[in-house]
Amino acid sequence: MTTPGEFYQRDRSVHPPAYTPNYKTSVARSPRYSLISLQNSVSEITGPVFGHNDIDAGDNDLLTNYANSGESPIGERIILHGRVLDENAKPVPNTLVEVWQANAGGRYRHKKDTYLAPIDPNFGGCGRTLTDENGYYFFRTVKPGAYPWRNMVNNWRPAHIHVSVFGSGFVQRLITQCYFDGDPFIPICPIVQTIPDPDAIDQLTAKLDLNATIPLDTVAYKFDIVLRGRRSTLFENRLEGN
């Protein structure tokens, strides 16, 4: 019988290293010793399972999930949609996707954000959903604004939406950020540029999806997310007793 095996070794070449001095906060928050590589055990191939009882149907609509009745947040109305896939290009179904973002002016609804752009009374800035059986997800929101941050004195984050994804095993756990095609801040952002591989940055850049755009209503951006894949057979690397 073919049972899914362990996850593929993480390809570190697509990820930022821990120590990235141009992103100053990483300097004191990066381990100096090598990570110790472990082959997967039951602790790694398993992970939390979520269901429709955990969330509400409207949680993925940031245009309405915090808005006062009859009102709407300020900004460009967008759909962010795509699929969660694994490295084998297989859809990852029923997995939890959570997002958070600044409002259209670049301000977060967070007690620690003091940027002078205003809070939008109709925008919370977070959403969550489960992928369907094809790994598909979507959110409705406003396009976030760029904002300044304290790193070098004149650093600005490109417009971005933070994305958290689970997968089926705890080793697939991923937090990343979704950028928007054509943003001039992408090539000069010290956080984006922690990623050494330009193709990996491009993979984090959502593309305008005119075909999924709702005419006279909402612009769509497509953003597929890829999680680590699994061996389909165990063979010599089998987890005995699995």
Binding site: R29, S41, P48, K111, G124, V226, L227
Partner: protein, 206 residues
Amino acid sequence: MPQELTYLKESASQTAGPYVHIGLTPGAAGFDIYKQELGWDITGPNAIGKRIRVEGRVIDGMGAPIKDVLLEIWQANADGNYAHPEGGGPVEDGFRGWGRVITDFETGEWGFDTVKPGTTRGRNVGTQAPHLNFWIVARGINVGLNTRMYFDDEVEANAKDPVLNLVEWEHRRATLIAERGERDGNVVYRFDIKLQGDNETVFFDL
């Protein structure tokens, strides 16, 4: 025609940033939006086993506690089973074994209540000592860090644990072992995680 490998590449990780709470624990960011936030109840109401509390700090390379860190916990139940189709066996109704914890914004202290996990099966043969799996994200952490927490009152099981034994530098194994204490008759384990510097915690590439 050459053979082509058609694997996709994993999406690159990016830091969770300072405002991770908005997405994952919005109440802590200062607003209520969801019917229920996820991850505050690790065990559910029916869990068997010894009730414990785990507390600690995440400390940076300058010795300061990190006040904007978020930790996730993944653990087996008291029988050593994970709440997952491949988790080894059944778990109690309502037991998820997953938790999400943030720090106090002023002190950097975090803590959560759970049950002590049981022994889990090993990768090939044997068993793994009771442990909690941690995943740590924060501003300044580019890729979430994985580590494990073991228990200092499991000396015998720890001595045989395949993962602890894989850490070549024996003195570094101690960074993975929480210290048992008691407060008001309750068991509290202390687990400080050091990101860098003296006694840097062992982190894993899983």
